[in-house]
């Protein structure tokens, strides 16, 4: 039984997002979705959701209109590559007036 007089410091980390900060700042290109082509958005029904499925960074929602979490999206472009209807385009960050996610 641990003695209360001892602090017993260890490396015991607790769970939380953003260990690497707002990784959206890593992004060079931003995914932009054209809802008029996106199958769930166009049909109003859950369908492919491959953008959600293949995102390694938990940064796409599984919603009728898929949303990107730009705070954390690293801009890898897998979603654009895997979208079966080509609804997602990767657009250079510098074209956005506001810039990317802030760190």
């Amino acid at each position: 039984m641990p003695d209360s007089r001892f602090k017993i410091m260890t490396s015991a980390a607790t769970s939380g997002p953003g260990d690497a900060g707002r990784t959206g700042s890593w992004r060079v290109e931003r995914p932009v979705i054209d809802y008029s082509r996106c199958t769930p958005a166009r049909t109003g029904r859950h369908a492919c959701h491959l953008c959600w499925f293949y995102c390694p960074d938990v940064a796409v929602s599984k919603t009728i209109e898929p949303q990107f979490d730009l705070d954390y999206c690293k801009g890898c472009g897998i979603c654009a590559e895997e979208c079966p209807v080509g609804a997602i385009t990767m657009v250079a960050e510098e074209t956005f007036a506001e810039g990317g996610a802030d760190e």
């Binding site: 039984m1 641990p2 017993i8 410091m9 260890t10 490396s11 015991a12 980390a13 607790t14």
Partner: protein, 403 residues
């Protein structure tokens, strides 16, 4: 009810682990440790001991299994010797850094090359900086009592404890000892708790990469970096000595044995000269001291170092303040320097006003016989040599060389 018996030191250690309620045992055979864990495997197989016995593929894995079990909230135990201990070395550091309350018996043996299965202390000495508490015992009764107390110490301070006993001299030798009653041990040793036990209900990521600097956690609280964590280990290693004394006092009250858990003095009250030694060698010196007192009228005593890490520097210096000469006899050394214990004793005395003459003797390396007569002769001679040139006095003397 207690139980007197005559058995080997390895079986004494096995009894202690069983009485301590060890639930996971993992071990790899190595002489002279093997009979200890063989005995545990026998008890587990026969149902006399309710535990998991894992016959692993290496010592590295033996401690690995214990590390896993201890991290998951179960009392674990292993034992090894010599090269087996060295093969575990990385895991020793890991267990200490993770503050795992493990207990391991090390049956001390010379380290290869060349191969030697016989006793010396080089194995434990070489692992003194791993962050483990290192205890040395002198007979079978101490193997039993100290091992049981070691579990309580490890679990109280969350620092792993290594119980060292001499290969063959104790491991394979039969001697009388008393086993405490199982119920009484249960009352003495509370159920095992690891502060950060792996638990899906309370998930923590243990021993993850830790940065040089302090950093805020997910809740915004500032947590120490690697250096702060290591500093805490150093501080609490030192604090552990007082806890060890408390535990010993409690054990003594319950079982009637103990009383000198850190340093054990023999005929030190009026001693002009003091022998410092560890393990069975310290006991052998009781006979030497008795003889020198009786036959030569030399006032000499023995101080057995029972806790080697954390090093009890202050207690040792206090015990040696009145001595004119201190002779450190040991079975291991820091190659290229001198006896490791000697260097420690010397540094412990440095800040204090009285500085006795110090001599260093290396004995019994790789099981070379240590005749009591030889110890008498060398000690007697050393007691008459106050005025050696510093570099001579500071050079270790090897006793019993044959070439």
């Amino acid at each position: 009810m207690s139980n007197k018996c005559i058995d080997s030191g390895n079986n004494a250690a096995a009894h202690a682990a069983r009485l301590a309620g060890v639930e996971v045992v993992a071990a790899y055979p190595i002489t002279p440790q093997t009979p200890l864990t063989e005995k545990l495997s026998e008890w587990v197989a026969s149902g006399e001991m309710d535990a998991e016995y894992v016959a692993v593929e290496s010592e590295h894995s033996a401690l690995g299994v214990c590390i896993g079990a201890a991290s998951a909230g179960v009392r674990a135990f292993t034992a090894t010797s010599a090269n087996g201990l060295l093969y575990m070395s990385e895991q020793l550091h890991w267990a200490a850094g993770a503050r795992l309350p493990l207990v391991m018996c090390v049956v001390n043996r010379g380290v290869g090359a060349p191969w030697s299965v016989w006793n010396d202390h080089q194995d434990a000495m070489s692992q003194r900086d791993t962050g483990w508490i290192q205890l040395f015992v002198k007979d079978h009764q101490e193997i039993v009592d100290v091992t049981i107390k070691a579990f309580r110490l490890a679990e109280a301070v969350h620092i792993p404890v290594m119980v060292n006993y001499d290969g063959y001299y104790l491991s394979h030798t039969y001697m009388p000892f008393e086993l405490p009653d199982a119920e009484a041990v249960r009352a003495f040793l509370p159920p095992y708790v690891y502060k950060h036990a792996l638990d899906p209900q309370r998930p923590e990521n243990l021993n993850s990469v830790t940065l040089p600097d302090a950093r805020r956690d997910a809740g915004g609280v500032l947590r120490g970096g690697y250096m702060d964590i290591r500093h805490n280990l150093q501080q609490e290693m030192h604090q552990a000595l007082a806890v060890w004394e408390e535990i010993d006092a409690d054990y003594r009250q319950r079982f009637g044995r103990g009383g000198a858990p850190v340093l054990e003095a023999y005929r030190l009250e009026d001693a002009e000269f003091v022998v410092v030694a560890m393990g069975t060698l310290a006991n052998q010196f009781r006979d030497v001291v008795d003889r020198l007192r009786q036959e030569d009228g030399i006032r000499v005593g023995v101080l057995a170092v029972q806790v080697y890490r954390p090093f009890p520097a202050r207690q040792l210096a206090e015990a040696l303040q009145a001595a004119r000469g201190v002779m450190v006899f040991e079975k291991g050394l820091s190659y290229g320097h001198q006896g490791a214990l000697f260097a420690d004793v010397k540094s412990a005395l440095y800040p204090w006003p009285a500085r006795p003459v110090l001599r260093n003797f290396i004995v019994g390396i790789g099981g070379r016989e240590i005749p009591t007569n030889e110890l008498c002769r060398n000690l007697k001679q050393a007691c008459g040599q106050d005025e050696l040139p510093p570099e001579v006095a500071d050079t270790p003397n090897w006793i019993g060389l044959q070439l």
